[in-house]
Subunit: 509 residues, 2 copies
């Protein structure tokens, strides 16, 4: 991309037009990586079955869900421990859950297809803190929330607006979801996620979608995702269970995510944590089908290892990478879309540690065939902080994976025989017809990489990537212009929010 000085509105529009074109989501031409043999996959599946049947999964505080399982044939112990006969959860999922589905965006050109050979990138989720080089680390606010939605809207390499891109702690806990949903709708036209902190907030999120898309459209289409954490090990909290059922009942997609810090919420050995993770996610996806057969759902996982020096969670380590690669295979066999990976790291600053750890998460998740990748941009500090600089760095990396996903073009132009005939041995290809024809489309060029000579780099101030990233996100925010929104829709949304907010006092939970 050609860099220019900042100018007026026209210059900004011109720069916008220069942004690389990208499809609304990735369709991978690359085959997924196959880590385990058939025998290995069967072993993981049978251990997951054994966990669900012998140990069982507890649903703590949702009798309706327990009853759904009872009626499906599970044995219930102490009114909450659900022992699922081997094969039942899998049969429930395979019987009705869609292998792929489309999440609608308010701009249909931004619709994303989730499942199969498709990959959708979404920004990081849930950080209480935000950080940038100018203002340092602080609690996130609604302004920060808006900024990350705008940055996500501006990049072609994120396909999805995400959900809680940071916690807007300046808004009451019980009212944040209204402002977050409104911001996703108002400042972007990409698909988004709804609240999962209570079933009532999930219902509000869906209701706001009805204001946006119309109730009839929402009843027939997936327009929102809800990312629900399992309380690993082997517990599904009643509120989480109701949130899953709320999304499923509305035919919207619950993303069912065990969060397993190996050695704490699961065994320290990866095979066991993997079987557990698969069992827990399978149990929740099966619950969506018990609630509403045919509702879309996503099999999630979030696996981390632990520093045995300090007990702290670690990221970018090889154990979760192996688990990602295996769970990709398990999800394909099950036939449901997979949420996996992200640009995860434990570093407190967007340095080499952050970049290595992030790449070590992104590579295996992508090759595993992840269909929905949350936390793909901005994640720092084991998820405690959303970083403006890390965000644009991650996005730059995601761009490269769009090229990688296309695979090798083994056609006549790709093999370039005419160029070899034109140039022959010992000469260079810079001026060849083939190079001139192809140079604008070939070679992904990292926007934030400095490939200049040492001398030129020194003359320009010896800036590292962190410093260049700081300039980059500020320039992007300057360029931002909101997409149009039908004023009648805007009015409906604002009225709904005003009414609902007035019905409840501010609360801190």
């Amino acid at each position: 991309m050609i860099r220019r000085g900042t100018g007026g509105r026209d210059a900004r529009i011109a720069r916008r037009a220069e942004r690389p074109q990208a499809p609304p989501f990735i369709t991978r031409q690359l085959p997924p990586y196959e880590l385990l043999s058939e025998e290995g996959l069967l072993a993981v599946e049978s251990h997951a079955d054994q966990l669900l049947s012998e140990i069982g999964m507890e649903i703590r505080g949702d009798e309706v869900a327990v009853d759904l399982w009872r009626k499906a044939g599970a044995r219930i112990e102490n009114d909450c421990r659900v022992h699922v006969p081997p094969g039942l959860a899998r049969a429930l999922v395979q019987g009705s859950a869609p292998a792929q589905f489309t999440q609608q965006a308010r701009n249909p050109a931004r619709n994303v297809r989730i499942g199969g050979m498709n990959t959708v990138f979404a920004p990081a989720y849930g950080s209480p803190f935000v950080t940038d080089l100018d203002r340092g680390r602080r609690y996130g606010t609604l302004d920060d929330f808006h900024n990350f939605i705008k940055l996500t809207y501006l990049t072609p390499w994120l396909h999805h607006s995400g959900g809680t891109v940071c916690e807007p702690v300046d808004v009451a806990v019980n009212k944040r979801h209204f402002d977050m949903l409104y911001a996703h709708i108002r400042y972007s036209d990409k698909p988004f996620m709804g609240s999962v902190t209570t079933a009532a907030r999930a219902a509000d999120s869906i209701e706001m979608c009805r204001c946006l898309f119309g109730a009839d459209f929402v009843s027939r289409n997936c327009v929102i995702l809800g990312n629900v954490n399992v309380n690993s090990p082997l517990v599904l909290d009643g509120e989480a269970s109701r949130v899953i059922r709320t999304y499923a009942a509305a035919r919207q997609a619950a993303v069912c995510v065990p969060f397993i810090l190996g050695g704490a919420m699961g065994p320290v050995t990866t095979a066991g944590a993997l079987a557990q993770c698969f069992a827990e996610a399978l149990f929740c996806v099966a619950l969506t089908q018990l609630e509403s057969p045919g509702a879309p759902a996503i099999l999630g996982n979030f696996l981390s290892s632990m520093s045995m020096r300090s007990g702290a969670p670690t990221f970018g380590t090889p154990e979760p990478a192996l688990a990602y690669l295996a769970i990709g295979q398990l999800a394909r066999r099950l036939g449901v879309p997979l949420r996996c990976g992200g640009n995860l790291c434990a570093s407190k600053v967007a340095d080499a540690q952050a970049a290595s750890e992030s790449a070590n998460s992104l590579w295996p998740a992508f090759l595993a065939g992840a269909n929905f990748m949350l936390h793909a941009a901005g994640w720092l500090e084991a998820g405690l902080a959303m970083s403006y600089e890390k965000f644009v760095m991650d996005v730059d990396q995601l761009g490269a994976f769009h090229t990688l996903a296309r695979g090798l073009a083994l056609d006549e132009n790709g093999f370039a025989l005419d160029a070899f005939r034109e140039i022959g041995p010992g000469k260079h290809y810079l001026g060849s017809k083939h190079t001139l024809t192809n140079y604008q489309t070939d070679f992904y060029d990292f926007d934030l990489a400095d490939n200049n000579s040492y001398e030129q780099w020194s003359a320009e101030g010896s800036r590292d990537q962190l410093s260049r990233a700081n300039a980059r996100w500020k320039r992007l925010l300057e360029e931002y212009q909101p997409p149009d929104l039908d004023p009648a829709v805007d009015e409906r949304l604002r009225e709904y929010i005003e009414r609902r907010k007035s019905e409840m006092p501010d609360a801190i939970v």
Copy 2:
């Protein structure tokens, strides 16, 4: 690893004993990644055949090599352009080149097996500059050369001492190879590489191996590698050709490496650059077999893309990653060991750019099944500088790939059913018997990662990984103690070097 204050000799020995144990090389349990279909692989092979037969490869200034090709059935044009009939190069290689071989180290416990499912990591090669945070960027010296050999000796994650770990520019160009070889032998006991700048220096390198191992042993074993660059596109310089033949004649392994900067030394499209790279390397490996059937050899490649903004080489981009994945398949079909990848980057500093680019090179090369990975540690600035800090950062990453390579342990301990039975739902595994039994061996922990809380990290000075790496390599060098070397061998080596140096005046080429 527990960190202690520095102390006397006993403390250093104790710290040495603490270093992680690692095998002398990696034997991957992970299956290699399969990018291309059979049809795609045949297309690349047939285009490589077409390049060798129709365009041809020039050997400029080595009549002996041209004659070897003529006798083998190639058509020679203008005394130097070698047109190889389709299939001939492949038949020559498959007829006699070993699919795997062992390179002997002077310490037999450090012998490495090159080929098959094995991977050998070696440090970066050939930088004129070195850099560290204390002294900045400067020309490399013999002292720096010694330091990098010592650092390589100290880490369990590099299996090979490498070759020109940096250029010792304080030694005359025509005498450097003596000091470099001596340093590899004296300061390490890992296997190493010899000189390739002239055939005479290659012969000196082999002669020094005879001083070390005995002539008879050298005639029967591979004890040294020579890394020879092809003058892409489609030219093999006469001196390079003689160097290849010198190593092959002595039954030592030439690593045959096309260096293709796409758009300059080859076409801008990746399929064409890949076919060219494979053709050039195949041609050189075939030459080793014409010179000495059965001699070990390695199929190399070095592919880079180019910034279309500046014409500078770029690293960690997706196009070389795709080429790596494909050439891994081609090498396996050919049945020769593959050199591929490394921790490559264009960054001038060991920042996030350096780390991302390096990971984007390391991951595909490793999954491609690279057997010998040069440039695995220290590489900065497109190879112009060897960085002390980057070196220890890269090594930390290589350690993780040892764990990754082992794959998932799907055994009774791995699945941890007893732990699930002990703990059940909703409780933590920190104190479980299974965790206590396994915690010391499970979870790779990056030595240079900071996984502490933000507060603790701040209290400790908010250091980034670059700063921690600076402390790390200095501490390692303090700990260094040379391995024993038989004084009689040392004497023979010193005598050989003294005599040979006295036979020539210093020269600058």
